[in-house]
């Protein structure tokens, strides 16, 4: 499977899709795509600095999986988390402002692209140490369980994290204590520049869960409906108290690992093969074939997204800088007088 092109397309999930829901899924995926294209442009202009890891190509994973989560569920994500943050409903402006380093950013400009936080939406980062978010997700789930809340913690991580000890420890502990964690492995076939078969002796990642008695499933991560369907079933099992579940979402990033990556490790042809399964293109074609959308709908989505992205940039441009006097604020919780 690895190294080459996408797997042969699976038969589409025969999900009865209502038009409104389909348009919403499409809108969210297009928003992520255009938001990130704008981010790349702003990076080359020097407005966004540091590291910028684009999600383009993987939109179906964030959008599809987020449909299964309630407002009370928690999310732990990685440094490639723009898609999850947008799909969770964090305003694009506060994300863009964060990447500008502005005080009106979702983390007050302290985290940048890799560290989005929004506690009101239970979005607990933005973790840039590969594998480091998994134990935190286990703990969030433990807190829910101990306090009798029927919530799920969704934990996103990449195929690279599967090589980390924290992945194995976290699956074991979550299973041992039957905690409500939904492990979402975004397998984009590369740990930065190291191809899956060059870092995993067993590249069929969903099999790792078997060693911890965790049920698992591999999903076509380019098919938003397949992702939604699998995540709904998995989340329902987790919410029921069956313990954790692992989904391996097979996807591909169309852009470089980060803006600094010259992509010496993969062939252009491989990227082109995957682009033929662009999640937005696939879904649009499918909706068209069922006469669920037409050019007017697509135009309306693009227009709405363009406005959202423009407003996000305006919000970021208009934001202020955190005062230097606040440099050490919130290293510790301020003492109440």
């Amino acid at each position: 499977m690895a190294g080459a092109g996408p797997a042969a397309p699976l038969p589409p999930v025969p999900l009865p899709v209502n038009r409104e829901h389909a348009l919403e899924l499409l809108h969210q995926m297009v928003l992520i795509r255009r938001f990130e294209e704008k981010s790349a442009e702003l990076y080359t202009l020097g407005k966004i600095r540091g590291f910028l890891h684009l999600y383009i190509g993987e939109e179906a994973v964030a959008v599809g999986s987020m449909q299964a989560l309630s407002a009370d569920d928690s999310i732990v994500a990685t440094y490639r988390e723009h898609g999850q943050a947008l799909a969770r409903g964090i305003p694009a402006g506060s994300l863009m402002a964060e990447m500008y380093g502005k005080a009106n950013g979702c983390s007050r400009g302290r985290g940048g692209s890799m560290h989005f936080f929004d506690v009101a939406r239970r979005f607990y980062g933005g973790h840039a140490i590969v594998g480091g978010g998994l134990p935190v997700a286990v703990g969030l789930a433990l807190a829910d369980r101990m306090q009798g809340r029927p919530n799920v913690t969704a934990c996103f991580f990449g195929d690279g994290a599967v090589a980390e000890g924290e992945f194995h420890e976290s699956l074991n502990l979550a299973a041992l204590w039957r905690l409500p964690v939904l492990f979402l492995c975004e397998n984009n076939l590369y740990a930065m520049g190291t191809a899956l078969e060059r870092h995993q002796a067993q590249p069929d990642l969903r099999l790792k869960a078997q060693g911890y008695a965790v049920p698992s499933e591999a999903v076509d991560g380019m098919d938003v409906l397949a992702v939604e369907d699998a995540t709904r079933r998995a989340a329902a099992a987790v919410r029921r108290g069956d313990g954790p579940f692992l989904l391996e979402l097979r996807t591909y990033r169309f852009r470089a690992h980060s803006m600094a990556d010259p992509e010496l490790y993969r062939a252009k042809e491989e990227i082109e093969r995957w682009k033929s399964r662009d999640p937005i293109g696939l879904f649009t074609a499918r909706l068209r074939s069922q006469q669920l959308v037409d050019d007017t709908d697509l135009g309306a989505i693009e227009a709405r997204v363009a406005t959202q992205v423009d407003e996000a940039v305006r919000f970021a441009e208009g934001g202020g800088w955190e005062p230097i006097e606040d440099l050490t604020r919130d290293v510790y919780t301020p003492v109440q007088p």
């Binding site: 928690s74 950013g105 979702c106 983390s107 007050r108 400009g109 302290r110 985290g111 560290h115 936080f117 929004d118 506690v119 607990y124 980062g125 973790h127 140490i129 480091g132 998994l134 134990p135 935190v136 997700a137 286990v138 703990g139 969030l140 789930a141 433990l142 807190a143 829910d144 101990m146 306090q147 913690t153 000890g165 924290e166 420890e169 976290s170 074991n172 502990l173 041992l176 204590w177 604020r329 919130d330 290293v331 510790y332 919780t333």
Partner: protein, 327 residues
């Protein structure tokens, strides 16, 4: 006031916290059925049940990280790590998450996590169970570090740690668990960040913490027989450091010897020495002395381990040098 061991004092605080706050729970390796590898949590599983006294797999990084997540989720976890050497397996969660999440989230998150672990040498358990790395932890902004030296502080500082909104690391010197002291079980929690003068004197300040406080007091006793009145200052908290108490003592005695079980280079003792230089340079009548562990992995054989650790004779020697080096 009742007499109890350091171990019993920690247990007293754990029991009080588990009884009074339903958000509190204890987790770690062998804290439940085994009763704690130092017998600190003995009996707590029977009293509070397996939901609140949780035996974990040997996964330091993940159960510490789970403590962080549980704290984010509204609980008050107490994580026990057997020894400071094992805590290195959890360093990612400690440094990259526990210490950073509040600041990096722009103040949205707080991590009210308490981590307890044994530290220190003197038990002939060699180089992977005996080190004193609390000075490393004191280097990290975003966490607090306390080092109780007495049974009363073992109880009081642990209860204080549980009132903090941010991560607190409690280092319990393993040689102290069997030491008895007077404890007032009705006492209010201590305040983190306050040093305590354990013996008053005016000739030299012995600045120390944790397992070395007793050695410094013994040295002061012997020096007193020669008419040398050493003051013993127990730091109790390494982050924050009670700088004003350090400077006040040195302003009175004009001489300081720092006793620290960590290795000398880049040690907590180095930080205290720097603070004295910055804040009390013109009060000093002699260079600041340091008594630290020898810069070797801790050896097993008794005579070699004794030679590696700060000892009473070494403290007395350093005091004499300080007193003799001027006028």
């Amino acid at each position: 006031m009742i007499k109890m061991s350091y171990r019993e004092a920690v247990r007293s605080a754990l029991r009080e916290a588990l009884r009074s706050d339903p958000r509190v729970f204890l987790m770690g390796e062998d804290v439940g059925r085994y009763g704690g590898c130092f017998k600190v949590s003995h009996g707590l599983l029977e009293e509070f049940g397996p939901e609140r006294v949780r035996d974990t797999p040997l996964s330091e990084s993940t159960f510490l990280g789970a403590g962080i997540g549980a704290a984010l989720g509204g609980m008050r976890p107490i994580v026990e790590i057997m020894t400071v050497n094992f805590s290195l397996l959890a360093m990612d969660q400690i440094v990259n998450n526990a210490a950073t999440l509040r600041h990096m989230s722009g103040g949205q998150l707080s991590v009210p996590l308490v981590v307890r672990m044994a530290t220190g040498g003197g038990r002939q358990v060699a180089a992977q169970h005996s080190h004193s790395l609390e000075g490393w932890y004191a280097h990290i902004p975003g966490i607090k570090v306390v080092v109780p030296a007495t049974p009363a502080d073992a109880r009081g500082l642990l209860l204080a740690a549980l009132r903090e909104p941010d991560p607190v690391f409690v280092f319990e010197h393993s040689a102290l668990y069997g030491v008895d002291g007077e404890v007032d079980e009705a006492a209010a929690p201590e305040e983190i960040g306050r040093a305590a003068v354990r013996r008053v004197g005016d000739a030299v300040s012995l600045i120390t913490y944790g397992g070395c406080v007793g050695k410094a007091l013994q040295a002061a006793d012997q020096l007193a027989t020669e008419g040398i009145a050493a003051e013993v200052l127990d730091l109790r908290s390494l982050r924050p450091l009670d700088t004003s108490a350090i400077l006040a003592s040195v302003a009175k005695t004009h001489r300081a010897v720092i006793v620290d079980e960590g290795w000398r280079t880049c040690s907590l003792a180095a930080e205290v020495s720097a603070q004295i230089m910055e804040g009390a340079f013109y009060s000093l009548d002699a260079p600041v002395g340091r008594v630290c562990s020898a810069e070797v992995p801790m050896p097993y054989a008794r005579h070699m381990e004794d030679a590696a650790l700060p000892q009473v004779a070494g403290i007395i020697g350093a005091v004499r040098e300080t007193l003799g080096s001027h006028g």
